[in-house]
């Protein structure tokens, strides 16, 4: 038995350390530990602040899923103060959220995850002409022809399209060669490029993928242009409690939003659709299929057992979350819990997530058994976020000193993440969870009038199942599945952006230009004491912000974050979290080069700043 430590885990957000106990002869991971090694105390910094400022502070939890926390926070504060935002604001926020998800997924796949699958060094062996031919085949084979409803189709032809000429791939190869030969590998330095997993793909796939890596490095920005138009910047666009600040007017030359500004957003949405349809989806399916064909269907872990989602994309404005209004009219009803999906959709069980569950202290809560925190008045208990406590209690490692770790203590406390639970149980969140939930609900007849999003999700799953020639429960609950579904979701989100853009235009056309509801702006209109929750399907999964407001000031603020759900430390009763389970569900070939461990952990798109905050 060997204990393998990877710290820092890179190509993720933040500070993550993993340790695994590995049986070197079988390659089996007997135990795994995931630790968030940094904590900033943002929940404490929220105390005594003006709730109208909350979005800005808490948005800084993360600049990768930038805006996720702002939007969730706005929902929480608006829920507490019972503010209903105008329709346009809902549409605009949805456009921003959708574009954020696509951009986040694209960056994750190409720049954070891809180098686990493809290698620039292998790309050197490719034949450029064969690569050009391969690019053609890939587009023909793997382009999923699904599309959401498009009211105003302004895109004359696909502007973003993969180049598939020999000369292009030769030029790309030459560039890679130059880097390699310079001896200054920069970001490509010191990786285990000799790991056997890099031989799974033919050199031409490596060359194509590395070329796309570079192209996407420069293209991803165009996906989130809407943030700059509506929120003034990206990362970290600006918002306002009660709606948006970007007033719409066709009568004023200086208005934040007018026709020209809408055209900028429209162009960006068109670009997004092209990038996803012609690059992301074909690339991921091509690589995924090759891996699956070679039998790589491990790394599922907790996804097989339990996933949770909250649902998102309110079709129209709603009056609150705690009162159930939010859940009444969602475009993506991924709210609920699915257990045992790996046994097939028939055998899987679905639990509804009801609005009253939000206030029930036994349904959603967080424990700190193995976290570097303590609950002074509730030792050993799990706390509901409205009563949540964030109090640091660092205990150090198992071996080494407090400032120089050898190994962390899986029996004691070992992470700055809390352990979120649903009814005392662990659950995985994320694109995969959302897809499992929607698919299960649909197949079980729980979505009698499915939205176009839900239909598209099911169609995608079935199409991919056909391509891979595997049942959804087999390919989805794997590390490849987790990564592939993220690409599928990007396609859906690209069209969600378009969908809400169309709705925005139509609504403006009908004469409604309101973007902010300022009736409750003045603190004197607020109740002395109130609570709110904001639910949001972030790129990495179900996110919730919980706020308690007293006398116009925040008196408690808690965020329960997707990566907290996934990367959390174990729990005496509930068992392991999703990262630990997934690592334990993964085979490792070479103990000194645990590429598979990194790959499976990265298949979650870790965000540790999010997770610990």
């Amino acid at each position: 038995m060997k204990r393998v430590v990877v710290d820092p885990v890179t190509r993720i957000e933040g500070h993550l350390r993993v340790e695994v106990k590995l049986d070197e002869t079988t390659g089996k991971v007997e135990d795994a530990l995931s630790s968030g090694t940094a904590w900033r105390g943002l929940e404490l910094i929220m105390n005594d602040r003006d709730p109208r400022d909350a979005w800005a502070f808490i948005q800084r939890i993360c600049g990768v899923c930038t805006t996720a926390h702002a939007l969730s926070s706005l929902r929480a504060v608006e829920d507490a103060l019972q503010i209903e935002i105008p329709r346009n604001a809902n549409y605009i926020r949805n456009i921003m959220a959708a574009s954020q998800s696509v951009q986040d997924h694209v960056i994750h796949f190409y720049h954070l995850h891809a180098l686990d699958w493809v290698s620039p060094v292998s790309a050197l062996k490719a034949d450029p002409a064969a690569t050009a031919a391969l690019q053609n085949t890939i587009l023909e084979t793997y382009k999923l022809p699904f599309a959401g409803p498009v009211e105003f189709d302004t895109n004359a032809y696909p502007k973003e399209f993969p180049k598939s000429t020999t000369v292009y791939f030769k030029a790309m190869q030459d560039k890679i060669k130059k880097i390699v030969e310079s001896g200054q590998l920069g970001i490509f330095a010191a990786q285990w490029w000799d790991h056997p997993d890099y031989d799974i793909l033919p050199p031409e796939v490596h060359l194509m993928a590395v070329a796309h890596y570079l192209e996407m490095l420069d293209k991803q920005r165009d996906i989130v242009t809407s943030h700059v138009v509506f929120g003034g910047k990206n990362p970290h666009p600006h918002y306002v409690v009660g709606g948006m600040s970007c007033s719409i007017s066709m009568n004023d030359m200086n208005a934040p939003v007018n026709t020209e500004r809408l055209a900028v957003v429209d162009r960006s949405i068109n670009t997004t659709i092209d990038l996803v349809n012609y690059f992301y989806v074909p690339d991921i399916l091509a690589i995924g299929q090759l891996y699956v064909q070679k039998g790589y269907i491990d790394g599922g872990g907790l996804a097989k057992e339990r996933v949770i989602g909250f649902g998102d994309y309110p079709e129209d404005t709603f009056s609150g979350t705690t009162n159930g209004s939010f859940h009444k009219n969602l475009l993506l009803r991924s709210n609920g819990i699915v257990e045992n999906f790996s046994k097939g959709v028939e055998a899987a069980t679905f639990y509804e997530f009801k609005p009253e569950d939000l206030s029930d202290p036994d349904v959603l809560n967080e424990g700190v058994e193995h976290s570097w925190y303590k609950y002074p008045d509730a030792e050993g208990k799990d706390l509901h976020p409205w009563d949540g406590v964030t109090k640091a209690n660092y205990t150090g490692p198992k071996e080494g000193t407090k400032t120089n770790w050898k190994t962390l203590d899986e029996e004691g406390k070992y992470s700055w993440l809390k352990t979120p639970k649903w009814r005392g149980k662990m659950a995985e969140v994320g694109p995969l969870a959302r897809y499992i939930i929607v698919y299960t609900k649909m197949k079980k007849g729980l979505l009698p009038e499915p939205t176009w999003v839900e239909k598209m999700i099911v169609d995608q799953i079935e199409a991919v199942s056909k391509v891979l020639n595997l049942k959804p429960e087999v390919w989805m609950t794997t590390m490849v599945g987790r990564t592939a579904v993220r690409g599928l979701e990007a396609q859906v989100h690209a069209y969600i952006g378009k969908y809400f853009f169309d709705k925005l235009v139509k609504n403006i056309k009908s004469g409604d230009t309101a973007v902010a509801n300022m009736t409750k702006w003045d603190p004197s209109t607020w109740p002395k004491e109130c609570k709110g929750v904001g639910l949001y399907e972030a790129p990495r999964g179900a996110l919730s912000h919980w706020v308690v407001i007293k006398n116009g000031k925040i008196s408690n603020y808690q965020a329960v974050v997707p990566t907290t759900w996934n990367a959390c430390p174990r729990d005496g009763k509930a068992g392991h979290g999703a990262y630990e389970m997934a690592m334990m569900d993964t085979k490792v070939k070479i103990a000194d080069k645990p590429l598979e461990i990194l790959k499976v952990v990265r298949s979650f798109d870790p965000c540790m700043a999010c997770a610990t905050h």
Binding site: I61, G63, I187, A189, W192, D218, R221, T225, Y394, A609
Partner: protein, 362 residues
Amino acid sequence: MKRESMWEVYLRKGMNRRSFIKSCVALTSILGLSTDMLSTVVAAAEKNALPVVIWLHGHECTGCDESFLRSETPLTSDVVLNMISLEYSHALSASAGEPFEAHLHEIMEQFKGKYILAVEGAVATADNGIYCMTGGRPFVEVVKEVAKNAAAIIEYGSCATWGGIQAAKPNPTGSVSVTDVVGNKPIVKVPGCPPIPEVMTGVIMHYALFGQLPPLDSEGRPKQFFANRIHDTCYRRPFFDAGMFAEKFDDAGSKAGWCLYKLGCRGPETYNSCGNMRWWNGLSYPIQSGHGCIGCSNPNFWDDAPFYNRLPSYEPVGDIDKVGAAVAGLTVAGVAVHAVASVIQKKKHQADGNKPEDKKVD
């Protein structure tokens, strides 16, 4: 600053050709290249190198990395592949764990005194720095170690430059700026939460084009990006001067794009390129999108909140103008009372037989 090739570094260190070739062999095999590539690797290593950049992450949100990646001019790929050699980055580097840390130390040794250290994030110092651990060690130790032999340090973002969000009250982790822990070094401060993408890459572009750090102001910020206040470069300034303000979000003034001063805009005291360059090559900036600046490139701007008021009212005192007026009223009343009392006292004094102009004498 002339950049040394790997071979020159070896010469300077008095190492011989054999150990140089040995390094090249190691490099070739790490890359999984065949041995006949060795001569090319050796030749390349003898040539002039790109400036080596080590990018460290402390207490941060990676918004600064993300902003860096959004750069259009120069394009991110051009920066990362042709202007610098980014040898260590938690965000982009292929490698992880032990080999990655070993690489860091090799690079630090090989380019001692030559590499540029970019830091994103604040330095957590409370309780010996245990709130931010990386590679099993406190970040504060790592940053000090890497800073020691850096040629220059770039502090990216308000976290690195001033402490940022985690340093806002009550600063549970004792977070401070990089400057606060690394001591005497050439430091370029690039504040903003995050900074504008083209400002981030612009600093590197400047170095690539001119071979030196850009001219800095007294605060250590590049003058070409941080000299002017947003208020003095804001396209809404004519409305400020004319006294035309948005009074509430989404009112007629908001739609007309009038000045956001009365909604708390911090443009009048914020030094950043938002007003002139704007975000994404002139596309917009918070003010253009109807929201006041929150001063995100200013020191400790988080504790200048609430953001929607030019004159923050502090509990339990409230609005200082109302307090001032009330205290002035009380003062006048107090003065009146004192005046009456004085008159009474004087009358009494006279009734005791004293003359009006009589004074106390020794």
